[in-house]
């Protein structure tokens, strides 16, 4: 209210372009942000259209590789979709593949049922952790685990895929359900998995994801899986090359 206060913008006086004290209309403010937002959106959509196929292709490739990794000794696998609570090799006409949950049922070189791989995501410490794990329906033991996607803290939580001895525990055929155990406090129970100090939440979560995944899928898997693959093999050796 007092007119003694004379606001002189020191910094602006050096510049030529911004006129002082000229009120800007609300419309102009909204228009500026609106146009900027639209251009940003357009740019993002364009780049996303270009990069999304590459990202998806990479993810699909990683997933395919991962099935072989978490089920060591796999020769080939079939994808089963959960359609109306029944495992089915084919999807109904005209539906989107990505809407259906699926498991990967693998067979060994003698075409005998070998293992089942499932992927599952749950919130970890930062964001969703995507895990794929292999389980043997014959022995009830875990065969392997791989973290597909995670944004866990670099240096700490990311040990869930960087700490190889830790990951190795899942390949040592532990009994299911898994029991998270503090390092050094194990009692020798067959399903024990040591957690990692400094990454307790992330490591426990991975164990929990596997347990939850098994719990969810077991009823369907127990409906019976074919002991040998019902799918005709056309180009059998082609897929086997992916094995690492």
């Amino acid at each position: 209210m007092s007119d003694e206060i004379q606001v002189t913008d020191q910094t602006a006086s050096d510049e030529q372009e911004i006129p002082l004290e000229k009120p800007v209309s609300t419309f102009r403010l909204i228009a500026t942000l609106g146009v900027a937002g639209m251009m940003a959106g357009l740019l993002l959509v364009l780049v996303n259209q270009h990069t999304k196929p590459m990202i998806d292709a990479y993810k699909a490739e990683q997933l395919q590789k991962a099935v072989y990794e978490v089920l060591p000794g796999t020769d080939r696998y079939d994808t089963y979709y959960l359609v109306d609570d029944i495992l089915s090799l084919s999807l109904p006409e005209g539906v989107k593949e990505s809407d259906y949950k699926r498991v990967y049922v693998s067979y060994n070189p003698d075409n005998q049922l070998h293992g089942v791989a499932m992927s599952r995501g749950e919130s970890g410490f930062q964001d969703v952790i995507m895990v794929i794990f292999g389980w043997s329906p014959n022995t009830g033991k875990l065969m392997g685990m791989k973290v597909l996607d995670s944004k866990e803290t670099p240096g700490l939580g990311d040990k869930i895929f960087k700490d190889l001895p830790w990951v190795g525990q899942f390949f040592a055929s532990p009994d299911t359900p898994l029991i998270p155990t503090k390092p050094g406090a194990g009692k020798g129970r067959p399903g024990e998995i040591d957690t990692i100090t400094g990454a307790t939440i992330s490591t426990k979560k991975v164990i929990e994801i596997i347990n939850n995944g098994l719990e969810e899928w077991k009823p369907y898997l127990e409906q019976g899986l074919p002991q040998s693959s019902p799918v005709e093999v056309d180009e059998a050796p082609a897929e086997a090359e992916v094995q690492s």
């Binding site: 050096d14 403010l29 942000l33 993002l44 803290t153």
Partner: protein, 215 residues
């Protein structure tokens, strides 16, 4: 504001006004992803890209942006480039993208970038804004690689994944943990302050009239 030459714009950000070590800006990535040199470099590269692109774009459109909405406009521009960097990294360098995880998205809130837009790009032409951005970007890279180097050498015993000390090295694990980040930064700043003070304390050779001797 002091008038500067284009070369000063460029050089200033590299060391004398280093964003991390002198201005204490952008400390979040400087502390968080510098546990290895590789991560530090990838983070620097992504930040460099965002900084340069935003500086160029904002200095181009500075006349069109009313000052009432400048901060939101700058953030919008920065966030767009960060998302672009995120998508491009994910498509072309998926392994590195996985390494950095959440920290790519967090470049948006790196106040060093917003600071350059507010303090420089919004008042200077495109060419000088780009020079400034490149200088500051290089300075940021130097700071991050320095942090990453110290932490990786002490905490893991490697430099750029190359083993330095052989199998008997006992890694000083706390260096790569978050606390190690704070301590490493603290020691670097301590060393810099010490040398700065020594430089000040030394009497200049010729005009020794207004020297502040601080011991």
């Amino acid at each position: 504001m002091k008038k500067t030459t284009p070369s000063q714009d460029f050089v200033r950000g590299i060391w004398k006004e280093n964003a991390v070590l002198i201005q204490m800006l952008g400390l979040c990535p400087a502390l968080a992803v510098t546990n290895t040199v590789k991560n530090a470099l990838a983070m620097s590269a992504a930040t460099f890209f965002v900084l340069c692109c935003s500086s160029v774009l904002i200095s181009t459109f500075k006349r069109l942006i009313p000052k009432e909405v400048r901060i939101s406009s700058y953030i919008l521009v920065i966030a767009t480039f960060v998302t672009l960097a995120d998508m491009i990294l994910q498509a072309y360098a998926p392994v590195q993208h996985k390494e950095l995880g959440a920290f790519i998205a967090l470049i948006v809130v790196n106040c060093m970038i917003l600071g350059r837009q507010e303090a420089f790009s919004s008042k200077n032409n495109v060419f000088r804004s780009l020079l400034d951005a490149i200088g500051v970007g290089i300075g940021f890279t130097i700071a991050l690689v320095m942090m990453g180097g110290f932490r990786e050498i002490l905490g893991v015993g490697t430099f750029f994944d190359i083993s330095l000390f052989g199998p008997n090295f006992e890694p000083w694990v706390s260096r790569v943990l978050p606390a190690g980040g704070f301590l490493t930064l603290g020691f670097i700043l301590l060393a810099m302050g010490y040398f700065e003070q020594r430089k000040k304390a030394k009497p200049p050779k010729v005009e020794a009239e207004t020297v502040e001797v601080s011991s």
